[in-house]
Symmetry: C2
Subunit: 425 residues, 2 copies
């Protein structure tokens, strides 16, 4: 055990983009740092849809948090789930009963998918936030084709080969492109009774365009590219019902055995832990230095907060915004520890928007430059490889993508079960 | 649907080494072939322990069965679980109600781990046969270190850092070597309260030596190599009790939070399906051409049968024996289809025994040549890469091993949960 009596104690909750950026920025700080996460791994969320659609395996986009920080002797990693935060006593309380005292606290606890008043839809339309969600989605996608192969009733077979994706943001668009290519390219020759290339993929968006946070002409390009791949795009039509056998949107009933939720997210319970104000999506309204109102020693960053750019626009819920937030919170703490009390407002810098459609098209909007098509795809690939952690993952994912690009085959097409098998199986 | 009226129907149950070898040998046969498996993937079992101990990810040692045979237009793959076999009507009945008619049948349904009268031990000492078993074991191993890091009671911490492996065959030996290296090399710097390198790994074997099917001097080498790595080897001591908190063997009680079963296997229920004689381990006693007594059109191969070599020794339960058996059954069927009724006894050819201990030692016994140490390890690695399916898997696993060999880091250190998380999580 280290001597913890003299040095300031900085606690960071969340080992995602925001939390890790804060730990990284605190390098060299004369403090005891504790990083708490309820999972043992950092997840590269932007590629999670590729695990769900069989291009990558879970360990290619996730890294043990302990290993990422193991050389930093003043950083302690705790695997645990926050139950409450006692702001009076300055303690983070974990579910297992452990209390972690802090002088400074950074909450980077992210968001999860949410159904906003329709929690009963969840079993029929699961979302995609964790590795388990991704392997479960992979199982559902592959099992739909397997069941269709055995199904003799033409209507039921049709429903099994119909995939409905609710939500036309980046996740929905990327899933739609990957699923149609899974059906039309990867699985093309694998079945004898069905024709996987006849699968329907329907992307349903309540708003007037896909990728609403991009420029309108980029949305139009994405819609066109999706349609060229064979995806059906239904715009301006809100989903009113989700059932085991299908989905109803804009008065249309679509029979589908596989419905995917990519429509809404809800912030982590960080606002509840602190007892502070939150917006409708559960996000804390932080002060302009990212501290929590009334708690100058507590910061919150990333998807669990709502903040605005200097121009007054909302900071988007993307990984890079979380990284910038985590880095900023760390810098404020370092300044305060050195006695600097000058105001330090967070200035979010938007680097660009990026989304991929299938295995050869992507769109990138840097503001001053937009890229689409093949050039966009290669830039997207290189950018993602650059942002991955570790040389090995970069090499492996680059090789994997090159392989899929050249052959169309995806190696992670595994249907694994919920529970381990037993001798009684 | 294909026309199935004229051509002979060959049904193969099991997409493991035996079943795939049979399908492969039947290439060019003018027959309708149906391959049935209850999983969608072929598993390279010899490397399963590396998934359980975080060196490889599941998709690196498993391949979709459909893709392996998708170019063979006369092969239909069915994902389904056999419920019964009607030998009178020549039908394989699946659990979902499907009936698959056959003229020729090959059963290559393998074995699973078994506790022989101690099924109550299973929850405390799970075994390793499937990918789910491997990811569950990986979770248990990694969680033991995580719990130890949070544990303040020294006795409980000690039990959390004690790993007991029951069974000193190849699986037990390979797991023991991999777990001690996980603790001493990979996790060395990752914790702040515990010293993972102080973890105890105890290998318990009821017989007088480890790797009983190897030559005695090879067993002695393996025991020495394990001890050099730090594994405690307890020989000649049968386990009499397995509990949640430990294991009792030869009168000794060992407190351990992580107990692994590598001691016994039980054949698939193939003998029950057919209503034929089986030995104590449930294996069918096949005729010398691998056909099932009384059923000249039904063959059984691999771990679900007991057969003898021309010399009268039992054919071992290893992948290569299953492959040879599958190939032989296919050849007999081809000969019979051509009207050849000459006896065709199965002549098993034993190529050698092979086991690995940690990341730099292996032992190989070809009979005419034995290799140990580093040379053994490189030969083992090359042999396994050679036997893997597909260029991509060969490249990826070779790179993975090289990476672990050079750095000691293992990338698949993920704790994933049993069930997908939900918004209520």
């Amino acid at each position: 055990m280290q001597d913890r009596t003299n040095r300031p104690r900085i606690v960071i909750v969340g080992g995602g983009f925001g939390g890790l950026a804060a730990v990284s920025e605190l390098k060299g700080a004369d403090a005891d740092i504790t990083l708490i996460d309820r999972r043992n791994h950092h997840l590269f969320q932007p590629l999670l849809y590729q695990v769900a659609t069989t291009s990558l395996g879970p360990s290619e986009i996730a890294w043990p948090i302990r290993q990422l920080v193991h050389k930093r002797q003043n950083v302690t990693t705790l695997l645990g789930k926050v139950a409450a935060i006692d702001t009076q006593a300055s303690l983070v309380r974990l579910e297992d009963g452990t209390s972690v005292p802090f002088d400074w606290l950074i909450l980077a606890t992210g968001a999860q998918h949410a159904y906003f008043g329709h929690d009963d839809w969840e079993p029929f339309a699961p979302g995609l936030k964790t590795l388990e969600d991704a392997t479960a989605m992979r199982r559902r996608l592959l099992m739909a084709f397997e069941k269709a192969e055995l199904e003799t009733n033409p209507d039921r077979r049709k429903a099994l080969l119909t995939f409905a994706i609710i939500g036309g943001g980046a996740t929905g668009v990327e899933l739609a492109g990957a699923i149609i290519e899974l059906a039309r390219i990867t699985l093309r020759d694998d079945f004898r009774n069905i024709h996987p290339e006849q699968a329907r993929v329907v992307l349903i968006e309540a708003g007037p365009r896909v990728l609403a946070n991009f420029k309108p002409e980029m949305s139009a390009y994405a819609e066109r590219a999706l349609k060229e791949l064979g995806v059906e795009v239904a715009l301006g039509q809100a989903v009113t019902e989700v059932r085991a056998d299908g989905v109803v949107y804009g008065g249309t009933e679509l029979k589908s055995a596989t419905i995917i939720w990519a429509a809404g997210v809800l912030a982590s319970p960080a606002a509840k832990w602190l007892g502070v104000e939150a917006d409708r999506a559960g996000r804390i309204k932080v002060d302009d230095d990212l501290s929590v109102p009334g708690h100058p020693n507590i910061f919150a960053v990333g998807d669990t907060v709502t903040a605005t750019t200097p121009g007054g626009k909302p900071v988007p819920g993307i990984g890079d915004a979380a990284k910038q937030g985590g880095r900023h919170a760390a810098r404020v703490i370092i300044a305060r520890l050195l006695g600097d009390t000058a105001p330090m407002p967070f200035r979010y810098r938007h680097l660009g928007d990026i989304a991929t459609i299938g295995r050869s098209r992507a769109l990138i909007d840097f503001g001053w430059l937009t890229l689409t098509g093949g050039i966009g795809w290669w830039t997207w690939g290189l950018a993602h490889i650059y942002f991955l952690i570790g040389l090995k993952n970069r090499i492996f994912i680059a090789l994997n993508w090159l392989w899929i690009y050249l052959t169309g085959y995806r190696s992670a097409r595994l249907i694994t079960q919920d529970t381990p098998t037993t001798t009684k199986d």
